[in-house]
């Protein structure tokens, strides 16, 4: 896991270049709704991975239950819309707040658990939510949909209802969310909060002895992450116009976004984005090639990638790239220097 690398900001440069490409390519994308859809999913997972990274990569709080926040965001905004005609834009924010409350209730007592045990408690959290929604038809007068889920009625093109026929609108929104999330993550990382989180991640007790209020900062990163993740959940609900517990509140979904962040590189801001844009299109290629069985093959590939990354590339691809690039640069510079030196003498 990285330190903070203030002196070599390769990450933000990569991200900036990447985002510019994305903007430039949009006119082409608009023509092909399918590629647009894939890109939207990649952006969404990148967004979720960046949000997850704020609490795991920065502070070391390894959560395998982030799908809980995705689900909470999705369900809260959907129910507010279906039952009370609240526009999903506001519903998104409320979903975020609800997630923060849930994050505090569940996360806070579990902060004292070490690494794996904290991870397992997050698994319990998401399992409980999944069981509760699947098994409950009604909460008072509100229909929760149980296992079948809830459908959002199609309304064509409507900003107020957060629905669009032309997918490029979704594209712009999620792109904006990703840019915002990344900017937030980056500014956090470079600020006092970022330094404190890094200290907590590496040695909680040493951080404590230096005046860091460990609980407060863990909570801060945890809640920010929950809030952002939940908003992504609301977006997802509006994209699919359907929420159901089997996918949204599932452990596999949690693990998927963890894998994406790991592959790209935990602890860096750009890493998760790289991971998303490597894996999601891969999944889509599989879908076109394999048809029906692609879901299983994709899952097996994800599982294998997880194992391989842990065993061989725990810092993620971005770290590897960075090291290769800096090594190459150093090699080039020293080769240049030695040949220049020879000429001089």
């Amino acid at each position: 896991m990285n330190g903070k690398n203030n002196s070599k900001p390769l990450g933000p440069i990569l991200v900036l270049v990447f985002l510019c490409i994305l903007f430039a390519v949009v006119p082409l994308l608009i023509k092909d709704q399918y590629i647009l859809q894939v890109t939207i999913m990649a952006l969404l997972f990148a967004y979720w991975a960046v949000s997850w990274n704020i609490t795991c990569g920065f502070a070391g709080l390894f959560s395998l239950g982030h799908a809980a926040f995705i689900g909470l965001g999705a369900y809260v905004s959907t129910i507010l819309f279906l039952e009370y005609a609240v526009t999903p834009w506001i519903g998104m924010l409320i979903g975020g707040l609800v997630s923060v409350v849930a994050a505090i209730i569940i996360g806070y007592p579990c902060f004292k658990l070490r690494g794996v045990y904290f991870a397992i408690s997050t698994l319990a959290f998401v399992s409980v939510l999944q069981m509760l929604i699947t098994g409950t038809r009604h909460l008072g007068p509100i229909d929760l949909g149980a296992g079948e889920g809830l459908l959002i009625p199609v309304a064509g093109h409507s900003w107020a209802k957060f629905q669009f026929v032309d997918k490029s609108y979704y594209y712009w929104i999620i792109l904006a969310m990703l840019v915002g999330g990344t900017a937030l993550a980056f500014s956090l990382k470079m600020s006092k909060i970022g330094y404190y989180l890094m200290a907590i991640k590496f040695d909680q007790e040493a951080a404590d002895s230096l005046g860091v209020n460990v609980v407060k900062y863990k909570l801060l990163s945890w809640c920010i992450s929950a809030f952002l993740t939940a908003m992504g959940g609301s977006f997802y609900a509006q994209l699919l116009l359907y929420v159901a517990p089997d996918r949204l509140l599932s452990i596999p979904l949690s693990i998927e976004l963890v894998i994406i962040a790991l592959v790209g590189g935990i602890g860096s801001v750009a890493g998760p984005i790289i991971g998303a844009f490597l894996l999601i299109p891969l999944g889509e290629i599989l879908r076109t090639e394999l048809g029906g069985q692609f879901a299983q093959v994709e899952a097996m590939i994800y599982g294998s990638i997880l194992i391989l990354i842990i065993l061989f590339l725990p810092g993620g691809i971005k770290r590897e790239l960075e090291e290769r690039i800096t090594d190459t640069v150093r090699w080039v510079v020293s080769a240049y220097k030695s040949s220049y030196g020879r000429e001089k003498s």
Partner: protein
């Protein structure tokens, strides 16, 4: 009143079987401090081995315990030797997160591989005794469940015997108490680890054989067992084999009795809440000891 008694007995019966599943997880954790996320899938493979023996040769599922156990021992040994030992060498954490993730990856591979090979449609084993019930006083117990329960008890007892009376067991207990000291005493750590994982997997496989007559069999069934096993192991005391049994009985009891009074979902949820409470407040579990 009868309902409650019936519910309690049913709960204990199924709980005892879950306890056997969890005992496998407990020993893997106990010796190596590894949390085997793929444990449910190991059970599932055991179920499928049993199913295959039954379908192809007409062999009674209870006899398939043996081949199931051997197969899973072999699989477990290989997994530890080939992958996990390698990961353990690279980490300094006492309870490595990396291994949890590796076993999570394995779990994904096994579930989906299974679905590709056998589809996710549930299969059932039909035996002559599946429909029979036994009456003890006013309580009725399905015969297959009763047999599975008794064999589960035997399985856990056998495991406990291996741990406490054999050389291998002693080595595993020593390693679980103090890794470094055990190494210094000449215990071959990698081999002990492989044996522990192999045995834990074998227990899972054999429990699978015991579950095959009474449960539906499909590749995704492992998910049920893994979460329950986590809960049971924490309730019983992380890494304790007798604790796993106790934990299993408690979980079975709560779920069964709870379902009598409230929506079964809430009974299950309360089990999870208990799980988190124990993690936070009493990680040494009901028995209060962190030893296998």
């Amino acid at each position: 009143m009868v309902g409650i008694l019936q519910g309690a007995v049913s709960g204990l019966i199924i709980g005892g079987i879950y306890g056997a599943v969890a005992a496998g997880l407990a020993i893997i954790y106990g010796v190596m401090r590894i949390i085997n996320f793929a444990h449910g899938e190991l059970v599932m493979i055991g179920m499928f081995v049993t199913f295959w023996f039954w379908k192809s040769f007409g062999i009674d599922p209870y006899l398939a315990i043996i081949p199931s156990g051997f197969t899973l021992f072999f699989i477990g040994y290989i997994i530890q030797k080939g992958i996990i030992n390698f990961a353990l060498n690279k980490t300094t954490e006492r309870e490595p997160l990396s291994v949890l993730l590796i076993t999570a990856g394995l779990s994904m591979i096994l579930i989906n591989g299974g679905i590709l090979l056998w589809t996710d449609y549930p299969k059932m084993i039909q035996t002559s005794y599946v429909l029979k019930s036994v009456s003890i006083g006013i309580i009725r117990i399905p015969l297959a469940r009763l047999i599975s329960f008794c064999l589960s008890m035997a399985l856990v007892s056998a495991l406990y015997f291996v741990l406490s009376r054999t050389e291998i067991g002693r080595e595993m207990r020593a390693t679980s108490q103090d890794r470094e000291a055990a190494k210094l005493m000449g215990i071959n750590q990698p081999r002990t680890y492989c044996l522990a994982f192999g045995i834990g997997a074998a227990i899972a496989g054999m429990s699978g054989a015991l579950l095959a007559p009474i449960f539906f069999i499909k590749p995704s069934v492992g998910h049920v067992f893994i979460m329950k096993s986590f809960v049971i192991v924490v309730l019983g005391g992380m890494g304790s084999v007798p604790g796993a049994l106790i934990g299993g009985l408690v979980v079975g009891l709560i779920e069964s009795l709870g379902s009598q009074f409230v929506n079964p979902v809430y009974a299950q949820v309360s089990v999870f809440i208990l799980f988190i409470l124990f993690l936070l407040i009493r990680p040494s579990g009901i028995l209060g000891r962190e030893r296998i």
